[in-house]
C-alpha cells in the first residue's frame, strides 16, 4: 500500500480534542444503528422476494436513463429489500417541491422591509444591494392596488453554501439539454400584507442592483418557474461598478504581518518551551563524581611531616594511605633545625592553592610557624595511591564523558527543534505571502460590481451562466458512509472551488461523475437530514475509470445554527 509521510506534524492539544467529545451523538447513533428497520425484518424480506428480479432491473435502467452513453462495468448488486426502499425513496424525492431545503432549520434568512405601498421606497440590503420600489407597486390577487404597509422579504444567494441550503435548483433545462449554473448571484423577493402573499401591480416593476463578486458579461438573467421546475431566461442584466466596495489597497492596509498571527507566535512559544525543556533536562542529568586528586611523589632531599588529619575535614587527603606533607620551596623561613623540634601543636588548613597545598601551623610555647606543605606519598604507598587514583580517575572519566554526551544530546535535540520551528515559521511566512498575493489577484479579477435588472413579478431570480459539469476525471461512483453502507441519497452536489456553482448529480450510484482534479472539490449529500461530505483530499484517490468506485463520505457531526457556521466549517 502507498504510504504518505508527514514529518513533525503539529500536535493537537488536549483542549481541542476535548472540545470534540460528543457522547450524546455516540449514544444516539449506536441506538439508531442497533434498531432494525422495517425492511430488514424477516417477514418483510420474504414477502418481497417474488418481485425482486423485476425491480432490480428497473432500478438499474432508471439509473441509466439519463446518461445512456455511460457504461457501468461493475454495477453493484442491490438486494431486494433495498431495491423496494430505493424506489419508494426516489418517488418521494421526485415529488418534492421545486425549492426544497435539504437540511431542516438551515436556510438563508430573509431580510424584511416595511414599505408604504403608495409611496414606494429605495431599500439597502446588507450586501450593498439596492431595491428600488416605485409607488403603487403592489396588488392583490384581483389586480387591485394595495395601500398601506407591505412587508417585503428579500434574500440573496452568492456561493455554493447559499445555493445548497436554500434548495433552489441549480440546473437548467434548455430545450432538453441540461446545464449546470455558474452564478454571479441569485435573489428571492416576496411581498406580504397582513400575512398574505401579494403580487406586483401590472405595469409595475422593481429595479434591483445586486452586489456581486462577478463582473463578467457571460451571465444571463433568469427567473425560476416553480411550477415547471425550470428557469426561464429573461435576457441579460447590466453590470455597473460598485463604488462602495473596498479597493485592494484598502484591504492591504488592514492585513496584519505574519509575525503577529497566532500561528507564527505559537512557534515562538514553542522555541521558549524547547529551551526550558532543555534546561530542565540538563539540570536533571546526574552530576559527575568529583575529580580525584592525583597523588604526588615525595621529592628527594625534601623534608616531610607525617601528620594525622581528620578524614571528615579533609576527605581528599584521606583517600590514600601513607600521606606525608612535603615542605614547599616557597618556605624560605624553614630550616632543618625545625625538623628536630618536638612541637606542642600542629594543625593543617587549606592553602592558597585549593586542593593542591595546605598551611601547616606548628606551635611550641609562644612560638608559632606557618609552613606551606604539599601532600605526597613515598615508595609503595605512592604506587598504591597511583593505582587507586587511576581506578578512581577512570570512573570519574566515564561519568564525565556521559555527562558531556548527555548535555550534547540535549543540546542537539534542542537545536533540531528550534531549527524545525524556524523552518515551520518560514513555511508559514511563505504560505502567508502567497495567500496574500493570491487574494490581491483575486480582488483584481473578481472586482465587486452591481448587477442591475428589473423584475415585474415576485420570486427567485439569478444572474447565471449555463455551464457543464467540471471535467478532468470521469468515473462511476458509489456513495457510501464510513460504515461502508450505501447512502440513501438523491441529490449529490459537487462543489468546485474554482467555479461558483453547485453541480448536481442525481441518484446513488453516480453513473457519470466528473470533476476537475486540479481544483479544490467537495461532495455533499444528505441522508435523513444529515449532511455527509467527501473531503477535498479524498478526490486525489479517485481514478478515471468506468469501474464502480466507492466514495466514502464522512458525516458532518457539527450542527450548524446558521449558514455562516456552515460557511466557516467548509472554509467559504
Amino acid at each position: 500500500m502507498k504510504r504518505k509521510v508527514n514529518l513533525n506534524r503539529p500536535e493537537i492539544s488536549s483542549a481541542e480534542i476535548a472540545k470534540r467529545k460528543n457522547f450524546d451523538s455516540v449514544l444516539k447513533q449506536s441506538a439508531n444503528v442497533g434498531a432494525k428497520p422495517l425492511i430488514k425484518k424477516p417477514w418483510f424480506l420474504s414477502s418481497v422476494v417474488a418481485v425482486t428480479i423485476a425491480i432490480v432491473t428497473t432500478v438499474v435502467l432508471m439509473n441509466q436513463d439519463k446518461k445512456s452513453d455511460q457504461h457501468v462495468e461493475n454495477q453493484e448488486q442491490i438486494s431486494s429489500s433495498d431495491s423496494l426502499a430505493l424506489l419508494a425513496f426516489y418517488k418521494e424525492e421526485e415529488a418534492k417541491p421545486c425549492i426544497a431545503p435539504p437540511i431542516k432549520g438551515l436556510n438563508v434568512h430573509y431580510t424584511t422591509f416595511k414599505v408604504i405601498a403608495e409611496k414606494g421606497a429605495t431599500l439597502d440590503y446588507k450586501t450593498g444591494s439596492k431595491i428600488i420600489i416605485p409607488k403603487n407597486a403592489f396588488a392583490d390577487e384581483n389586480g387591485k392596488l394595495l395601500k398601506g404597509e407591505v412587508e417585503l422579504r428579500y434574500r440573496e444567494f452568492h456561493d455554493a453554501v447559499d445555493f445548497f441550503v436554500s434548495g433552489i435548483p441549480m440546473t437548467y433545462d434548455s430545450a432538453g439539454v441540461k446545464y449546470q449554473f455558474e452564478s454571479a448571484g441569485m435573489i428571492e423577493v416576496l411581498a406580504y400584507q397582513n400575512g398574505k402573499q401579494v403580487n406586483m401591480a401590472p405595469e409595475k416593476a422593481i429595479d434591483i442592483e445586486m452586489a456581486s463578486d462577478y463582473k463578467g458579461t457571460e451571465y444571463n438573467f433568469y427567473k425560476l418557474d416553480t411550477m415547471a421546475n425550470n428557469w426561464s431566461c429573461l435576457g441579460k442584466d447590466k453590470v455597473k461598478a460598485n463604488p462602495e466596495k473596498s479597493s485592494a489597497s484598502d484591504i492591504k492596509k488592514e492585513i496584519v504581518s505574519i509575525e503577529e498571527t497566532p500561528e507564527y507566535k505559537t512557534f515562538e512559544t514553542k522555541k521558549v518551551e524547547a529551551k526550558k525543556e532543555k534546561e530542565v533536562q540538563m539540570a536533571a542529568l546526574p552530576k559527575p563524581i568529583a575529580e580525584p586528586a592525583k597523588p604526588a611523589q615525595v621529592k628527594k632531599g625534601k623534608f616531610t611531616f607525617n601528620l594525622e588529619v581528620d578524614a571528615k575535614e579533609f576527605p581528599e587527603l584521606s583517600v590514600y594511605k601513607g600521606l606525608l606533607f612535603e615542605v614547599g620551596d616557597e618556605n624560605t623561613n624553614f630550616n632543618k633545625s625545625m625538623y628536630d623540634i618536638t612541637w606542642d601543636e600542629a594543625s593543617v588548613k587549606e592553602g592558597n592553592k585549593s586542593g593542591e597545598n595546605y598551611n601547616l601551623t606548628l606551635k611550641k610555647g609562644l612560638k608559632k610557624y606557618d609552613i606551606i606543605v604539599y601532600p605526597v606519598f613515598e615508595g609503595k604507598n605512592y604506587e598504591t595511591a597511583m593505582k587507586t587514583y587511576q581506578e578512581k580517575f577512570n570512573k570519574y572519566k566515564v561519568t564525565l564523558d556521559k555527562r558531556i554526551a548527555d548535555e550534547k544530546k540535549a543540546e542537539e535535540v534542542y537545536q533540531a527543534k528550534v531549527a524545525e520551528y524556524q523552518r515551520k515559521q518560514e513555511e508559514l511566512a511563505r504560505a502567508y505571502k502567497q495567500k496574500q498575493e493570491e487574494a490581491y489577484r483575486q480582488m483584481e479579477t473578481t472586482q465587486k460590481v452591481m448587477r442591475a435588472f428589473t423584475v415585474s413579478s415576485f420570486g427567485v431570480y439569478n444572474c447565471d451562466n449555463p455551464s457543464v459539469y467540471p471535467k478532468g476525471i470521469l468515473c462511476v461512483a458509489n456513495i457510501k458512509n464510513d460504515l461502508n453502507k450505501n447512502l440513501l441519497c438523491y441529490d449529490v452536489y459537487l462543489v468546485d472551488k474554482q467555479k461558483n456553482g453547485l453541480f448536481t448529480y442525481y441518484r446513488n450510484p453516480l453513473t457519470s461523475f466528473s470533476f476537475n482534479p486540479k481544483s479544490k472539490n467537495m461532495l455533499w449529500t444528505v441522508e435523513h437530514g444529515v449532511l455527509y461530505w467527501l473531503k477535498p483530499e479524498q478526490f486525489s484517490s479517485i481514478t478515471a475509470s468506468m469501474k464502480m468506485q466507492d466514495l466514502v463520505l464522512s458525516k458532518v457531526d457539527q450542527k450548524f445554527e446558521n449558514v455562516e457556521e456552515m460557511k466557516a466549517y467548509f472554509n467559504f
Binding site: 500500500m1 476535548a18 470534540r20 473531503k535 483530499e537
Partner: protein, 187 residues
C-alpha cells in the same frame, strides 16, 4: 526514553472499569465515563495513523459507536478496556487505508532521535533523514507498528504487548531487533 502513555492500570482500576462496562451493558448511558476516559487516547492513536484531523475525529466517534454496539460481546480478559477499543480503532484505521488506498505515517523528529539514542547512534543529523525514509517507505507494516507505538507514541512494552496481543517481552525483543536492523541499514 520517557513513556507518556496514560494507559497503565492497577488491578483495582481494572476491576472498577469492568464494573462500569457491565453497568453500561445494561444501561448504555453509563458508557459515558469510559468515553470520557478513553476518547483522547483513541483519538491520538487514530490521528497518529491518518492524515486528516477531521477524519481522525470522525473515526474516533465511529470507534465508540461500534464499541457501544458490540459492548454485549465484550469479555473481560484482565487487560484494560482500552485494549479492546484499540482493536476497534485499528480496524477503523484499516478501513480508512482501504478507502484511501494509502497509509499515512506520521513521524516526529524527537521520536527519531529517541530511536537513535536506543541504537547508541550519536550522528543524529547524519542519519535522521535516512531513518525517516526507511520508516516511511520501507519498514514492513508489523515493524512500523512497533516503532510507531514505542517511539512516536512513547508507549511502554507492556502496553504495546496488550494492544498487539503479544507478550511484553516479545514486543521488546521485536523492537530491538528492528533497531538492530535499522542500524545495519543506515551504515
Amino acid at each position: 526514553m520517557i513513556e507518556t502513555s496514560k494507559y497503565h492500570a492497577t488491578q483495582t482500576d481494572l476491576a472498577n472499569e469492568q464494573a462500569i462496562v457491565e453497568a453500561a451493558k445494561k444501561e448504555p448511558a453509563k458508557f459515558a465515563s469510559l468515553y470520557d476516559k478513553y476518547y483522547e487516547q483513541i483519538f491520538r492513536y487514530i490521528y497518529q495513523r491518518v492524515d486528516d484531523k477531521e477524519q481522525a475525529f470522525d473515526a474516533t466517534q465511529q470507534v465508540f459507536i461500534k464499541a457501544m454496539e458490540s459492548l454485549h460481546k465484550y469479555e473481560f480478559r484482565g487487560v484494560p478496556f482500552a485494549s479492546w477499543l484499540y482493536r476497534i480503532a485499528s480496524s477503523e484505521v484499516n478501513n480508512i487505508y482501504r478507502a484511501q488506498k494509502q497509509r499515512t505515517v506520521n513521524i516526529d523528529s524527537v521520536g527519531v532521535y529517541g530511536m537513535m539514542e536506543e541504537m547508541e547512534e550519536t550522528k543524529i543529523d547524519k542519519y535522521h533523514d535516512k531513518i525517516v525514509d526507511i520508516i516511511g517507505q520501507e519498514l514492513p507494516e508489523d515493524e512500523l507498528q512497533l516503532i510507531e507505538m514505542r517511539f512516536f507514541e512513547k508507549r511502554s512494552f507492556k502496553e504495546i504487548g496488550e494492544i498487539l496481543e503479544i507478550t511484553e517481552n516479545n514486543a521488546k525483543v521485536k523492537t530491538y531487533r528492528i533497531l538492530e536492523k535499522l542500524k545495519k541499514i543506515i551504515k
